[in-house]
Amino acid sequence: MTTATQTAAPDGRAKKGGRPGFFTLLVANRLAAFGLAVLVMLALTALLTPFLPLAPPDITNPANRLLRPLTDGHLLGTDELGRDLFSRLMWGTRVSIAVGLSATLVAAFVGSAIGLVAGYAGGRTDNVMMRGIDMLMAFPYILLALAIVAVLGPGLMNALYAIAVVNIPFFARNIRGVTLSLAHREFVDAARLSGKGHLRILLTEVLPNVLPVIVITMSTTVGWMILETAGLSFLGLGAQPPQADLGSMLGEGRKLLFTAPHVSIIPGLMIFALVMSINLVGDGIRDVLDPRLKSGALSRPAAATAVKRDNVPPMPVAPSEAALDVQDLRTEFRVGSDVYKAVSGVSFQLRERECLGLVGESGSGKSVTAMSLLGLVPTPPGRIAGGRVLYQNRDLLESSEADLRKMRGGAFAYIFQDPLSTLHPLFTVGDQVTEAIRAHQPLSYRDAWKRAVELLEMVRIPNAAERANAYPHELSGGMRQRIAIAMALANDAEILIADEPTTALDVTVQAQILKLMDALQDDKGAALLFITHDFGVVSEICDRVAVMYGGRIVETGPTDEVLNSPAHPYTRKLIDCVPVLGEPERRLDAISGLPPAVNRLPQGCAFADRCAYVEPACREGDVALEEQAQGRAVRCIKPLKAETPEAAQ
């Protein structure tokens, strides 16, 4: 794509070469970097302990017993036998790290072996092995370790084995999962066909692919293992004197808690520092590996879209005739330093009692336009960057959250696509309609419920009183959409906004729902903003249409006129996508090429890359939306004439 600066991010940021490396990202996370620094320091001192000029850790000196920290010659004081605590701490840390790491390696080795074999072999072998693993997991974690130590007898090595055994299930489960997904991939099959033995396939083909999972599991369990081996030593079941790890130092010091607390508190602090730094690094690794965190997809959306408008059109002097007047609306998504201009300057009027179709492919900005009206675009990453939404001479973009809430479900009601995901799965449908009523009318729950049942009857749900007690998943797609419509009609909305309400339904149900909506709209005298990608649906229900492409309206006009003589090449293609009964081959599933990425809109006409009539002039300046005739406008420098015969290609 050619460099386009006109519509790109205002800061004109140039893409830096390549993605930042794993390590760079990890260090960029301040907490993880801190954890890493502490961990490296601790690991280094543990490695270097034998070479440091420390007092011997096991030499007793009764004359110097229980010295406080910071006494001369003993930085951290001494224990009850007069041994230097600092030196003992260093040596103890060394032992604790060594034991924790060894336990991790043992658990990783055995657990991964089990996971690999179970996942690779599948069938009975898998079943039997995983049942066994499940059994191990049925025990409280430490309890099983205790039972093992009880049988083997106390001792550091036995504690190590016990902790390793209870951690085997974590490795076995994770590795089995990945292996299972690899076991029947082409490269494994190919290796099998080439006559390699199973063991060789496992080691040379599968293992390298599983290795990252093993490493991640190790990084998440090693902290635990250090903690738990220290715990066993603390209970007197691990390291036995004179051998000492951090846990046993803590355990022995415990008896002196009241007289010399430092003897037990200091080793505990060390365990804490060790485990915490490992956890920080582990979390950092997880964050880096999980791209969702960066994209803001894990952010909690605010109650209303943020509004930060750069250019606001002046308030009109005369009150608008239209029920809803949208002027130069701009909505964008900011992800990292990318700006996606989902809606860039959309204006339309929704007149009273009319049905306006907002048509376009997914990504054209039609849904975002609809969601922007009442601040339902998730922030972050979305925000409204310009324009006005005028309703009864007020700008909805300036109203408070409380006012917005009154509008939502009150004067304005939404009907969404796919009610399986848009209805709450854990409440009955009756309850959800009741809730919608009570959000705007001072009714008791019982009265509101009665009203809800009436609404369900109105949208022609058979056995409404009974169905009201059903949960969404117990109803058919068509029934669910009727529920959603009933919910939208609960408070006699003036403006209905339907976002692809029939897309998830099959054709017959679709027709029924359209008919129902048409009838109800007439009946209630509401205005309807109908969002769809399907001109077939538009022709059934809409009075006027506005076609959107790349975040802008490219053509608008009365439905019949646009359908009969589309002026914009894109509109033409959309109309050609509609399946015609009896002519299945005419159905084009999609228009060739992709809609433009709205973070890098091309200069000039956004449709140029896919347009059959493109010429150099199309890519030069901004193409304006020009009025052709009364109520018709098109954004194209050479609009199609009526009945261009070779238009469809």
Binding site: P154, L250, L257, M276, D418, H424, A484
Partner: protein, 315 residues
Amino acid sequence: MLAYFLKRIVLAVPVLWGLTVIVFLIMAMIPGDPATAILGSYATPENVERLNRQLGLDRTLPEQYFIWLGNLLQGDFGRSYSLNRPVLNEVLERFNATLILAGASLLLCTVFGLLAGIVSAVRQFGWTDRIVTFFVLIGISMPSFWLGLLLILVFAVNLQWLPPSGMYAVYGGGDLADLLTHLLLPAVTLAVVATGVIARLTRASMLEVLRQDYIRTARAKGLSERRVIYRHAFKAALVGVIPVIGIQAGFVLGGAVYIETVFQWPGIGRMLVQAISTRDLLLVQGGVLVVAASYVLFNLLADMAQHALDPRLKS
């Protein structure tokens, strides 16, 4: 629903059975002469011989297992040589104390974990969130036995607000208030890690749920933000958190071993540690079996709670 619960209860039986197999196999790993190992080196020859007969050591391993299992089913867990009383009596008595401690901890970690998680998610990236996240990180990295010592130092030694150890005061104690003052420190200590885990998960689960389409619907209905969060989002998030609370029951029951040692709580964990150092293996075996079985039941409860909450799981 009832049929489902019955099915779940029946399904728990093989799990319980598996527990006995594993415990039996672990006990069969004992190096050297099992009877001497179980009874300790001071055992009289008669006792050794009786146990050998009881264990049926002359038979095959499966035979031994079924004899052993038969005894268990009749409530015969053997006799503790160090306490010289039936294992089952001792275990059940101790288990009572553990249940009080673990129950209180589970209550604490569930309530505070859920609260912290919700607040953290709702104020994502705000100060509250940062503070909660920070404490969660500290909580799950802290050795509980060390935290117990710190709390004793502060609240029992320095401030003298609470007793440092035991379950009841030696003189004049025994009522509920006395129990609660003794319970507070160990229960809090035991709850810290689990609170952190539950808070973390609740936060993630809430954030996940808050992005769902049905939350947008709830907002589009014009519901107040409070209702959106505490009714719509929380209920959906809870469904995902409940199984984890069940798993935390296992960590709390296991962690009780440390806490009971630190606070000298007369529960089963402390009994186990003592039994291990005196090599009273029948006592260990009995204790492990009872705690593991109760863990299975906890998970069963969590599972049922989840089903009661989520109608989708019924079909």
